[in-house]
């Protein structure tokens, strides 16, 4: 139930927020150093980079949750995971994957590098 609603919410969030930000990043890079500096300013410098952290962590969490549940849906399409216990376990696995992958991504970007 929760994972099903999250799938829709994360999909809509990425489509209306993630995709424009990705497009802005590409367009700013194409437009030149000055445009790129504006993009960088908003996500890296305003409020100590708070916007970048919130949006970045939010979007990666949305991506990994949607990705994990998308794979789960491919199993459902094949007719698997309809038993109550396995269905619930796979939904919990999606939540665990989303959280773990997000933590690993930001740990790698923020600490390891």
């Amino acid at each position: 139930m929760l994972v099903s609603i999250l799938h829709r919410a994360t999909g809509v969030a990425m489509a209306v927020a993630g995709v424009p930000i990705l497009t802005w990043w590409l367009a700013a890079t194409a437009a030149g150093a000055e445009s790129y500096a504006t993009f960088r300013h908003v996500f890296f410098e305003v409020a100590g980079g708070a916007i970048g952290w919130v949006v970045g962590i939010g979007l990666t969490l949305a991506l990994f949750l949607h990705m994990g549940n998308g794979v789960r849906h491919l199993f459902l399409d094949a007719g698997a995971l309809f038993e109550l216990r396995r269905n619930k376990l796979s939904a919990l696995a999606v939540l665990a994957f989303g959280a773990t992958a997000t933590v690993l991504f930001w740990f790698f970007v923020g600490v390891v590098k």
Binding site: R8, V19, T23, W25, L26, R40, M67, F108
Partner: protein, 125 residues
Amino acid sequence: MRTAIGRVRGLGSAKQGTHHWWNQRLTAGSNLLLMLWFVLLLARLPAYDYATVRETLRSAWVAVPLLLLIGSVVYHFRLGLQVVIEDYQHNESRVVAMVVLNLYAAAIVVIAGFSILKIAFGAAA
């Protein structure tokens, strides 16, 4: 006066449901591969300054998969948001929402695609 056949013509299934469903799955698969690649690319970038990003995106090995990613992602969300619109919007507002969605998807494809090509084909910075 309308005949019985005249009243029902144009109603019912548009016969595109299977096509929609299947393409949603196809782009789910391509999104999975392309987004995993893109997330790893972003994570492994040595820095996020203009010069580094531009040099990275100039490579054909990055520009081509990135174009595929934009196409796959936009097609996928175009199909997904259509389902959301069909669930919550009815009558005229549904038509308006669908038109807005189509224009939005087209604008994203063109802006992102043009940007990627401009970077890839542009002179060295």
